[in-house]
């Protein structure tokens, strides 16, 4: 009997790992490794173009024809020495194969490149037609061929972080993300609570309102950005309505997205509009859990509606408020899509957009990783504050 139980346990462990394996492997490969890699990159000058230089597929015949000025069919007509006399390995690798070499790599090529075997393969027609730079170098370096297989970024220590702290755009983009959270989170939370309280006050058609308020949340931020690009344009409908109402007080149409002092606030307004309804559902669920007897007791004690709201509803909604505001803050600190679509001025960019720009437009992945590490630290601190707040609650 004991043996059988043990057997079941072993079986359970095996099945358990089998079931959990895809998630565990995926997390190890696509989350844990990248986190360590990001920290490592942040201490290097990782350059994506350099990283790829050994991966390009090259055509050795074409490159040699270019270098020697001799067609492959005619190469057999020359002796090995004749061909070697006109062969310069560094120039060949750098210009004809098109692989950018740094000083150490040049030195290695100079010393260890096996020109003779390359040229004799060329003469005898034994060169591979197409192959990766890394494979090519492995084949034709007498030693240190592996140095050309994997890109190792230069270690720069804390240089990236030093650069960041004197980078004006870092401060601008970080402050913008912070300001974004600071404005959006409280307003969207309060708005969501107001909507939830309104929907919870014995009215008809709650389902309808809930469905309507969910609409922006299920629409992609890309599509919403396009719609607001139209609404916010200078001849757009928001200006038309505002002019119709306030025109006689001297209101002039505003180019919301091109005006650096206004653009970010315009995007914030759109964000509040698109998420308040979604969070309203969270609060409504919380409100429905508050027993009505509490309100009845308060009524007997002579409390008015406002007192009930501030003294009963708000404190009891605290778990939801903490949750929504922290989720909102984390989301806002990372806002990207709307910024990508709508921001036209570097003064209005946020940190995640600046990270993207550095990594994928400027090709400065080391620097971008350092920025990401800083963002990580800030979000970690915010999450710890969240934990503290929740602990205080219980």
């Amino acid at each position: 009997m004991k043996g059988l139980r043990l057997k079941y346990r072993t079986k359970e462990a095996i099945v358990g790992y089998l079931f959990a394996a895809p998630v565990i492997v995926s997390v190890l490969v696509f989350a844990i490794y990248p986190i360590f890699a990001a920290f490592y990159y942040s201490l290097t000058d990782y350059q994506p173009l350099e990283a790829r230089k050994f991966m390009y597929v090259v055509d050795p015949y074409g490159a040699l024809e270019l270098h020697t000025g001799i067609l492959r069919e005619e190469a057999g007509n020359y002796t090995l020495d004749e061909l070697l006399a006109n062969f310069d390995p560094i120039q060949f690798v750098q210009l004809d194969l098109g692989v950018n070499l740094d000083d150490t790599e040049k030195e290695l090529v100079k010393r260890y490149f096996d020109s003779a075997s390359l040229i004799s393969d060329f003469r005898e027609g034994k060169l591979p037609e197409r192959l990766k730079v890394s494979e090519f170098m492995k084949r034709y370096m007498r030693a240190y061929g592996h140095k050309f297989s994997k890109y190792v970024p230069k270690f720069v220590g804390l240089q990236n972080f030093e650069d960041i702290f004197s980078d004006k755009l870092f401060y601008t983009s970080f402050w913008n993300a912070f300001l974004y959270s600071l404005v959006v989170v409280p307003i969207q939370t309060l708005l969501a609570i107001i909507l939830a309280v309104a929907a919870n006050s014995k009215i008809k058609g709650v389902g309808f309102f809930k469905a309507v308020f969910f609409l922006p949340a299920i629409t992609s931020s890309a599509a919403l950005s396009m719609v607001f690009m139209l609404l916010y344009s200078k001849p757009g409908v928001i200006n038309k309505i505002l002019v119709a109402i306030f025109g006689k007080f001297g209101f002039q149409p505003i180019d919301y997205l091109n005006e650096p002092s206004i653009a970010l606030f315009a995007i914030m307004a759109m964000n509040i509009w698109s998420t308040a309804g979604y969070f309203m559902v969270t609060f409504l669920a919380g409100l429905q859990d508050i027993p009505s007897s509490i309100y009845e007791a308060a009524k007997i004690d002579g409390a008015n509606k406002f007192q009930m709201f501030w003294k009963i509803t708000m404190p009891l909604l605290r778990p939801q408020i903490v949750f929504v505001s922290i989720m909102g803050t984390i989301g806002c600190m990372q806002v990207f899509d709307q910024i990508y679509f709508l921001v036209r001025n570097l003064r209005n960019i946020t940190i995640s957009y600046y990270i993207y720009k550095n990594a994928f437009e400027y090709g400065k992945m080391g620097y971008a990783s350092a920025l990401a590490v800083i963002l990580f630290a800030v979000i970690l601190i915010l999450s710890l504050i969240q934990r503290k707040l929740i602990k205080e609650q219980y």
């Binding site: 358990g16 079931f19 959990a20 490969v29 909507l195 299920i218 931020s221 984390i330 990401a372």
Partner: protein, 296 residues
């Protein structure tokens, strides 16, 4: 007619809700209106004229024919976006495939994992669980660059595989399924075991068929997220044939920025499937909203 004092809060509530309903509908309605407005129209003399969608007032008319800005409304723009950008069909297909694969992958893998973490005992279970919990705090920007470089190394940039491989499981989805299985009546499984069912048979025959609500919620959540995803496809997909609909919108924005009608048609077009899904499975959306609240 006098209003009883106790009905004031109800009236104020209705007022707030109706105002916000209008505020929510307005941007959508305007976008729909523009998407239905033709680029050109023929005036009474038979001359073709451009429609100015920035005219004010918009001259909205419902009779005899619905019209705005002096031109009859039409669904033609929705057809035209497929003709103006022949790749649009491809982008739609790409998006369906991306969202579909992600949904299938997430449902299968997260429900397996969720069950393991909820019900089965295996070594280091708590370690993995705590690790996953901690990982939820890591912002996407941190893992983005190394993920990209890894895919470059494997030659998966600008491929479907590169797009969906890193997203086939999600920690959020795992926790969602785990939470469901934790609340699942244990008696059912125990009864199955007494009947001689093994763990695998219990899972596939008894547990999974009863997990439909959680699976639906996870499917919708994943499908929606993938459909609306922008940053990841933006980084991974470089050639136009591989774009998804959100990248397509970005293309419209940069190449057809004066054709607001097309841009609005493309925006509304990609929203319609989500609205249909939302209306058909509304209760699961609300459930996921509640689950989120409980987590806090």
């Amino acid at each position: 007619m006098s209003v009883r004092p106790s009905s004031w809060p109800v009236i104020v509530s209705y007022l707030i809700l109706i105002i916000y309903t209008i505020a929510t509908f307005f941007p959508f309605s305007w976008a729909i209106l523009i998407s239905l407005t033709p680029i050109t129209y023929f005036d009474d003399d038979g001359n073709e004229r451009g429609v100015n969608i920035f005219d004010w007032p918009p001259k909205l008319k419902l009779f005899p024919k619905p019209s705005a800005f002096g031109a009859s409304l039409t669904l033609r723009n929705y057809k035209l976006i497929f003709e103006v950008v022949p790749l649009y069909r491809r982008w739609l297909l790409n998006t369906v495939i991306y969202a579909g694969i992600l949904t299938i992958g997430n449902v299968i893998l997260n429900s397996l994992g969720g069950y393991a973490f909820a019900r089965l005992n295996f070594p280091l279970k708590n370690f993995w669980f705590t690790l996953f919990l901690a990982l939820m705090m890591v912002p996407g920007q941190v893992t983005l660059i190394p993920q990209y470089n890894m895919l470059v190394r494997f030659g998966l940039i600008n491929t479907y595989a590169g797009l969906f491989l890193p997203k086939l499981t999600s920690i959020f989805g795992l926790f969602m399924m785990r939470q469901f299985f934790l609340n699942f009546p244990k008696e059912l499984e125990e009864a199955a075991r007494i009947d001689g069912f093994g763990i695998l048979r219990t899972y596939f025959r008894i547990v999974l068929p009863n997990a439909l609500p959680a699976i639906s919620a996870l499917s919708i959540y994943t499908f929606l997220g993938a459909w609306n995803d922008f940053q990841w496809p933006l980084i991974i997909m470089s050639s136009k044939e591989n774009y998804t609909l959100t990248l397509g919108l970005n293309f419209f924005r940069s190449s057809y920025y004066t054709y607001w009608q097309y841009m609005m048609a493309a925006s509304i077009f990609m929203t319609i499937p989500m609205i249909i899904i939302f209306l058909s499975f509304q209760k699961y959306f609300v459930e996921s909203g509640k689950a989120v609240a409980i987590k806090g």
